[in-house]
Subunit: 343 residues, 2 copies
DNA sequence: AGTGAAAATTTGAACGATCAAATCGTGCGA
DNA sequence: TCGCACGATTTGATCGTTCAAATTTTCACT
């Protein structure tokens, strides 16, 4: 159906071809109810014939929107490919809602806030999705004050008073599932290895471990390991727990990176199998690739992304729905030891 | 300096505030030479005062460009975070060149080509960066025929005749460095584990291994392992090489996923150290996190991204420079066994 | 057939910027 | 003093679309 190669086809071209006015073509696309069936048919044919597609810039100018959601891409560390998965899910969700995702990486010298402000002022994006919200993140109140629409992947820890839109994954629930799994395997001494207090999500995951242990009537004394998310450091921290009188036989971890460290610290037996059972968090590719594969808690990023886009679009449409926070439940991906002979 | 909160500041507002016409303000920003110093100063002050930023949509409409580079984000598999690193580098490079990166994830049911065409037709993006170019990728000739600007991360294998713009990493060079490294460690039986023939980049990496082995006067017979990039399968393939009469003592691999498989197949000795030395490709986080850490070949994605943006911008500016291909050299990231006591 | 209301369609303006061409102002040389 | 050239600035048009209002057409009902 395509006639013209380098499409410079405008709505006027279509109008001329169909023998109607610009506005009628516009109505066919944006308000189908207003146009008579016969006319609609004629216009549709002309559109297909010419390969017409409405110009984005013109639409944006007229409608005072960009149809773009901004996402600051940060250098990801650790084994997890959560950012990857989330970005993919975000792009897909945005697509469904008629938006696109625009990523940017402000130069470190720049004032970061200026980058956000600039994108809004120039009308390059309509709002932001933040996936790297820190404890007491200063961006949140600033955005709110500036009236810049945004949503967070992750609760705005340290801003419990403010009303922000967010979607998050219940870390306590996830770690509790990990503990349940380990208890079901017969372990009683289940340690936790994760971030030191003060990171919000880290505290929550640790609380999930503690509660689950209490529920199972298991003691937690001397089983709480806290250190920065770094394999070398975490390996030492796990090792410190293991040299105690009544050492842990299993670990529930704050992330797969911690889990890798726990496995290293635990070492392997004569058959090459790990001495301690470990469950990670984030279900990174590394979890599956380890030998034997490692169980891990998987975050439902697709659902989170879809919901975040919904929340942001609500704001953009100017609906007076108060910003809400929604919690999603992660699931434990259980990976057993390989069957005999499979190695 | 910011006065107005929700910036609806237009060029006319600035003009009025500075007591000049719209065009003069425009000239201050786009053709500073044409404006008298005193006037420039006055306009600049008004711009700062009002917090003016030129509207993107209006510029795009007038200038018939979007300032956006399109990138189809694909679900990445394997341990490598190459896509992540590349995307970050791409966003940064685009930023420097005055562009933004727009990511999209077309629904699988859609004809994928339609998604590209739509983005171009609507003027949403000016061109594309392709990072998942397959052997004889049908998109390339199609883009060329449609006159859609694009550049490739990775050589357009199977289109050696066509003149496309690309930047790539010399896989043969990278694997050769891996072989040199292993030979220097005293290994003579260095195997290769990677994709079966037919993937272009895979063949090149294998060729790099073969040439390096020949250069060192080492035989390659019975040392060439080929299988899909999948840990289970690759572990079997590596195992098959290891049960031979004169088995390999080291592996150079096509990717870190293959390398993980080689390590698993090799097993560990009584001290828990790997029986075979393995060098991977892509330098994924997993390589560093393994115990002991694994050497790997690292691709210079920052340079690649910068160059790709340059090539694409050349096309967009309509310069008559013929499309060129540029090759970058990866580097071996050498990771030794942990020092005693460090474990 | 005539009237009025509803439906269908068209016209003019506007979104905010930049290009091309016109106008204004200034200084210099004859 | 006049004219001319050149620099500085302004005006009008335009990019492609959609909104609001005006206009035309259709159709039911008296």
């Amino acid at each position: 159906m395509v006639r013209r190669e380098h499409s410079g086809v405008t709505i006027s071209d279509v109008a001329a071809a169909a023998g109607v006015s610009r506005q009628t073509v516009s109505n066919v696309l944006n308000a189908p109810g207003r146009v008579a069936p016969a006319t609609t048919e004629r216009v549709r044919r002309a559109i297909d014939e010419l390969g017409y597609r409405p110009n984005r810039a013109a639409r944006n100018l007229r409608g005072r929107t960009s149809g773009c959601i901004g996402f600051k891409i940060h250098a990801s560390a650790g084994v997890s490919n959560l950012l990857d998965r989330f970005l993919h899910a975000l792009a897909a969700a945005a697509e469904t809602a008629g938006y696109h995702v625009l990523i940017f990486a402000p130069a470190p010298v720049d004032e970061e806030l200026a980058a956000y402000q600039d994108l809004i002022r120039t009308g390059t994006v309509d709002g932001f999705v933040l996936a790297d919200v820190a404890h007491e993140d200063r961006r949140l109140p600033w955005f709110a004050k500036q009236g810049i629409p945004f949503v967070c992947f992750g609760r705005p820890w340290g801003h419990e008073d403010g009303r922000f839109a967010w979607a998050d994954v219940d870390g306590a629930y996830g770690v509790a599932r990990a503990v349940d799994h380990l208890i079901a395997l017969g372990h009683r001494r289940v340690a936790y290895l994760g971030w030191p207090a003060g990171t919000g999500f880290g505290d929550e995951r640790r609380a999930g471990w503690r509660q689950a242990m209490r529920r199972h009537g298991a003691a937690t004394g001397g089983l709480d390991g806290a250190c920065p998310e770094d394999v070398a450091t975490a390996t030492k921290a796990a090792g410190a727990l293991l040299v105690q009188p009544d050492p842990p036989t299993a670990f529930a971890c704050g992330s797969d990176t911690f889990a890798v460290a726990a496995r290293i610290a635990g070492g392997v037996d004569s058959a090459g199998l790990p001495n301690v059972e470990v469950v990670g968090f984030d279900d990174s590719p590394a979890a599956m690739l380890m030998s034997p594969p490692m169980s891990s808690v998987r975050q439902p990023v697709t659902e989170v992304a879809r919901h975040l886009v919904g929340l942001l679009v609500d704001q953009l449409r100017g609906s007076d729905v108060p910003p809400e926070g929604v919690m999603f439940r992660p699931e434990l991906v259980s990976r057993g030891r390989p069957r005999p002979g499979e190695r």
